[in-house]
Symmetry: C2
Subunit: 228 residues, 2 copies
DNA sequence: ATTCACCATACTGTATCCAGTATACAATGC
DNA sequence: GCATTGTATACTGGATACAGTATGGTGAAT
């Protein structure tokens, strides 16, 4: 992970901590339910508690950690319940992101979608999960940028991080799961590039929903139903 | 130091500040674009900068203030652009909230929807905008609770605050705008109570979309197109 | 043996202090 | 007169010191 002193200070310590901790949580280096204390995190990265507090509040907002006043901080547990919540929101929002992206005339950004797809395929071939997901995330980021809706962008970025933890977990257990999505992803990209507005909406909606449906059994087996 | 104890300390100073500042921004007591400094806010409420910092970061995450590193903090400006972004997300999310609420069998909570509607009508009769909106918000809150989806709840709460600032502004200028929604709101509530899942989705979707369409001209006249 | 009260402890919440940077204005050189 | 650079200032970012509370254990009393 980052031994502790390799982060860049340019963007502020708190922002760097957010990135570092996000990645650690998404890629399961910090286990679900693991207890975090501000002091310990501060010590581990050689900073004071102030930026750590800021970072942890930021992670709380994105649902990656839970905080209870004067009680403590924990990495958000994983559960089918949580998974369903995230995906029910993602289905709706990713669909309108694709729709709005298809409406855009920003050909320069649209052209990059094809490159991202190639990179995803290459990473899939190489069997590199983290690389695959980093390209996948870049593709989503591109779509959000093309859609040019800052509010939607912000909401989806938050959901994406949460979703990615589940997707990464599934991928590690069964790398075949990404095959589910690669071809359909290509079709969504194509619809966006061509400006096929209803097509982009429907394909993205159906794609996310299908991934949701087809992976939730594995999530339930692994993490249980969740709170009731 | 801490001379004024007018606020409640029970939930933590920062959380109280969030509520207070949120309300001040939503109800336009703090004008869009107004500059805020941590020290000034701290002094005004008789607290130190620490909880103010926490509160302002929280508001930033909900899009109510903008912060630039070492430059300053401003109340988020209002614009048609911003309005469109918020509503395009709300249309999608409120619809699935209504849908999921219709699926619920929580009759106790559903029963409260009728009471909320009466309270909204009474406030409308009395011409009390803030009371009307407080009941309106309570109705939305109920739907989110019935839908029983914490992630969706969180996202919609954030959007609601931003949307409410525009709605409140419009209401003050023309109280008739709420008539647009009252009867349709009643129908949505009814669909949720009856468990009419597709009906709740469609009616809520169309309701929010119609309010969006029918109010955006007024927003443009008032605040301009926004960033380009 | 069980329960209740007390206390030690460890954490978060808050206050305050220090550092660094962006901005505006003034002074100086061309 | 204009530009450029130095400098003062005011703010946020980060560090540290202090306060208050939740929790777990230990002890005594019943």
């Amino acid at each position: 992970m980052n031994t502790g002193h390799a982060y860049k200070l340019s963007a502020g310590i708190a922002d760097n901590l957010v990135s570092i901790l996000e990645e650690a949580i998404v890629f399961l280096e910090l286990a679900p339910n693991e207890r975090l204390t501000e002091e310990e995190v501060a010590e581990r990265y050689g900073v004071s508690r102030s930026p750590v507090r800021d970072a942890l509040r930021s992670l709380e907002r994105d649902g990656l950690v839970l905080r209870e006043a004067r009680r403590g901080i924990w990495v958000t547990p994983m559960s089918l319940r949580d998974f369903d919540e995230i995906y029910s929101c993602r289905v709706a929002l990713e669909a309108i992101a694709a729709e709005q992206a298809a409406r855009s005339t920003n050909t320069a950004l649209k052209a990059q979608l094809a490159q991202v797809l190639d990179a995803m395929r290459a990473a899939r071939e190489a069997g590199d999960a983290r690389l695959f997901f980093s390209h996948d995330v870049r593709g989503s980021e591109l779509i959000y940028q093309i859609a040019d809706n800052a509010t939607l962008h912000r909401l989806l970025k938050g959901l994406e991080k949460q979703a990615l933890r589940y997707r990464y977990h599934l991928y590690r257990r069964n790398p075949g799961v990404v095959d589910l999505s690669l071809d359909d992803t290509a079709r969504v990209f194509q619809a966006i590039i061509e400006g096929d507005v209803p097509g982009a909406y429907r394909m993205e909606h159906d794609l996310i929903e299908r991934i949701w449906r087809e992976t939730r059994d594995a999530i339930r087996d692994e993490f249980g139903e969740g709170r009731k």
